[in-house]
Point group: C2
Chain length 216, copies 2
């Protein structure tokens, strides 16, 4: 693995900002988008459980119908690709089994050999203490995806805007998520900034490093 220069990483993270105005005419090229989807697939999650599904919405009509439920923030309609990060609203044994089967499929062996691991995960996020708030736990995992996805986009020169401002129930309803046991966690429109977006030129506001990081 060849690391990138640290300066290039920081340049991309400096360049990134929460895009307020996307250029509705600029679309992410297919090969770039394919890579970004692959980066989503590669997102790490606790136990590797991947308690999510990512909806990628490009259809204008669907986006327009979501708009009123996102406080009419135009990014939803004007971006190139709208990613709706959804998670399982409940984690059940079938989810764990599906994961164990996938491990066996990818790494070889039988799900039976994974009985100990299955017990561990089951005893935590299904029957254990975390099972009490598994939906919230799954949403936390979605925020890992959000963090990695925004960084990945920036490195490929793609703009994003993380969005918590939406009516969850309405998104779930319009997207028909409940019947799949899913709920909307967070949104991330991706595309290209309109050159006139005044937020692009504003200095980034961060607390001083000494107020944010403490070495011990």
């Amino acid at each position: 693995m060849t690391p990138i220069p640290a300066s290039q990483l920081l340049e991309a993270l400096q360049w990134r900002y929460a895009t307020k105005v996307f250029d509705p005419n600029k679309k992410i090229p297919a090969d770039t988008w394919d890579a970004l989807e692959e980066s989503l697939v590669l997102t790490p999650s606790s136990y590797g459980l991947q308690p999510w599904k990512f909806l990628v919405i490009t259809a204008s009509a669907l986006r327009e119908s979501l708009l009123p439920h996102a406080y009419r923030q135009r990014q939803v309609a004007d971006c190139s690709h709208l990613v709706v990060m959804t998670v399982k609203s409940k984690i059940c044994e079938a989810d764990i089994d599906r994961f164990m089967h996938r491990i066996a499929e990818v790494r070889g062996g039988t799900p039976d050999a994974l009985a100990g691991f299955k017990r561990l995960v089951l005893g935590d996020v299904v029957h254990g203490e975390r099972g009490q708030w598994a939906r919230e736990w799954a949403i936390r995992q979605a925020y890992i995806a959000l963090g990695q996805f925004m960084a990945a986009c920036a490195l490929l020169g793609v703009d994003t805007c993380p969005m918590e401002g939406f009516v969850e129930e309405k998104f779930d309803e319009v997207l028909g998520l409940a019947e799949h046991g899913l709920t909307t966690a967070v949104l991330c429109p991706a595309g290209y900034r309109l050159e006139t977006d005044r937020y692009a030129g504003l200095p980034k506001v961060r607390f001083k490093p000494e107020d944010m990081i403490e070495r011990r």
Copy 2:
């Protein structure tokens, strides 16, 4: 901003894995670590509020004293830099004011000019519906940091291991967080894998892209 090739991004994300065994003798060089700290500082958050503090623990004695409260997972003690991501356990008006002052400091102008923005944030994460569960909301933000940090590390060739397995109260106690209104959200040891870590060589398990991503 010069994007990196998509192949390089994917190579780094493929290379990354949850490191089980760190080489206790390999330390992250100072310039690389400085860049990673800067990437932490640049982490996006809702409203830009940055409701966190990142503790970077390198002192052996402190790490050893945290070990029993992390189920003795050796990564805590054997990594090069242990990042403890902490968040405000409560968001109060003073936090919003501090942020408004920082905006005015960085971008010019007076905090008074930001009165409308302050009202918006205050009415949401302090007095609004999100104020009811602001601690959890802050933890979600920390997971953005976690996601971006793991990606940043991978791109610079640094190994990480995201860790939820720790006793929050004990971490808070040992690190003296309560008096600063902070609580432990998640851990991320960083450093270099031991070449013999058998997990490094295992194929990455992800659900099939068609099961994880749905284009609409």
